[in-house]
Amino acid sequence: MTDTVIPILVEGLRKRYGEINALDGLSLRVEHGEIVGLIGPDGAGKTTAMGTVCGLVRPDDGFARVMGLDCREEGQRVKEHIGYMPQRFSLYSDLTVAENLRFFADLFEVSSSERRERQERLMAFSGLAPFLGRRAGALSGGMKQKLALCCTLIHTPDVLILDEPTTGVDVVSRSEFWTILRDLAGEGMALLVSTPYMEEAALFDRLILMHRGRAVASGTPGEVRSRFGQRLLEVTGPGIAKARERIVGLRWPGVDVHRFGDRLHVVHDLEEEDAGIREALARVDVRVGPVEPTIEDTFISLVTHSPEAAG
């Protein structure tokens, strides 16, 4: 593994399925030791992008390279460098944890001495060691995801691609899973990971917000938040139900109100609207003040207000 090679490099990827542009000029890169997040709605192209990097999808245009190898032309060699965990990773539920690991080691032609050494390490850091003899089908959801991850790591890949690995997994297991991902990045691995959990977004080194086959924003979580092109007011206090009625009653086209438990978030475009909103709420028992947008706010603002989104 040389440090000069970019582990994952994607340039101008395009892929069309009939009428649908699954990928529409996507570019991205992931460096050694980096965890990059792909975030976007269903159908944004996340899974197609990952499939292209894994050499499973042939792009119409552009290229994807893994460790300097072209994913289309040198697919077989690329696979040796990649660990890929699809959304529905198939473990053999009738086989034990140890048998699953052996199966994937055989699949990737890992020698038995190498496998033993690797297995020991994987079991130690995933916390699965006490469960080697348990059937995969009898593991909890979080443990299954960890076993799936271990199976994708058995051949010591340079690049790890995980498609929504934490969906349906509880907070505690998710937090443990992230500790493992951080350890892997610390060893120099390059990770490309998709997630629907916005609270995980802040954990990535860099984020790519995808919409309609392209990146609508990318950068560190802070940089992505700075792309929020609108204004955001937070309304709190006992009168939020009344406040909501008042704001909706203004019928201003660019103004959106969302409720989050005991608060309202009012998204709007223009500075002038700010005074109007405050005035409408003057006699309601609430506090009004600007707040920093979250990544979710930014994402929703970009996909609902970008010119491409209108079409």
Partner: protein, 263 residues
């Protein structure tokens, strides 16, 4: 207090044994509810109440007993011990009455993939014994509000996940239930669809429907008026998100959860 409960709509007077509380006052009232499977105690004597019109978050780690508890509250599984009332009716004595008063939607949605949107709605209406007119009136209203009206002839299998989710919600509330159980309703759904979904949930709650929701999204936990957290079959925390954060000194519900559940 029994006398007060007796006057409440739908509360059977004879079977009440909730001590000082009138079950009819609450959307959900749970007292010492327990379920054992052989040696394993899945739900271990939980007690709490949910007020009418409240959005109540029912949280816990995978395997903490949430789904078992919900199945008992929906009248699908008999408790080993304890009692619960939903919309004033006891789950043990009147499970069939409860099924008509609740709506249920899970992450698996329970839709018929080879039926159209309209057919799914009509079919659901039939199951709940609604008249054709009721199905048409309420169904049209719901499909309009859910943004599905223009797609009613589309086959369900061809819909994006966010659409299926909204359709599942529509089917779950077609019979105007007083309590809506949502078991991880937004799993795998993207942020935009999730936000739209919650806008609908607030609308339902404003209309008086009680929402009982489980989720692994801790930002959604913040959307609830109160949340409970289950660990190993027991409710170990229950309060508003703001107060739980205060009590634990945590900044987010994620941190609250990790502290409370952390192994």
């Amino acid at each position: 207090m029994k006398g007060r409960g007796a006057g409440m709509e739908g509360v059977p007077t004879a079977s009440m044994s909730a001590g000082d509380v009138a079950p009819g006052k609450y959307a959900v009232l749970v007292q010492g509810l327990t379920r054992r499977f052989g040696d394993f105690t899945a739900v271990d004597g939980i007690s709490f109440s949910v007020e009418r019109g409240e959005i109540f978050g029912f949280l816990g780690a995978n395997g903490a007993g949430k789904t078992t508890a919900i199945r008992m509250l929906c009248g699908l599984l008999a408790p080993t011990e304890g009692e619960a009332w939903v919309d004033g009716f006891p789950v043990v004595a009147a499970p069939e009455k409860i099924k008509r008063r609740i709506g249920y939607m899970s992450q698996r949605f329970g839709l018929y993939d080879d039926l159209t949107i309209q057919e799914n709605v009509s079919f659901t209406g039939g199951i709940y014994g609604l008249s054709r007119r009721e199905v048409t009136e309420r169904g049209d209203l719901l499909l309009e509000r859910l943004g599905l009206k223009d797609y009613r002839r589309r086959l369900t299998s061809s819909l994006p996940l966010g659409f299926k989710q909204r359709l599942a919600l529509g089917c779950a509330v077609l019979h105007s239930p007083s309590v809506l159980f949502l078991d991880e309703p937004t799993g795998g759904v993207d942020p935009l669809a999730r936000r739209q979904f919650w806008d609908l949930i607030y609308e339902l709650a404003d209309g008086g429907t009680t929402i009982f929701v489980t989720t692994h999204y801790m930002d959604e936990a913040e959307y609830c008026r109160r949340v409970s957290i289950m660990v190993d079959g027991r409710v170990v925390a229950l309060d508003s998100p703001a107060r739980l954060k205060q009590q634990t000194g945590a900044g987010t519900m994620q941190d609250v959860f990790l502290q409370v559940v952390g192994r």
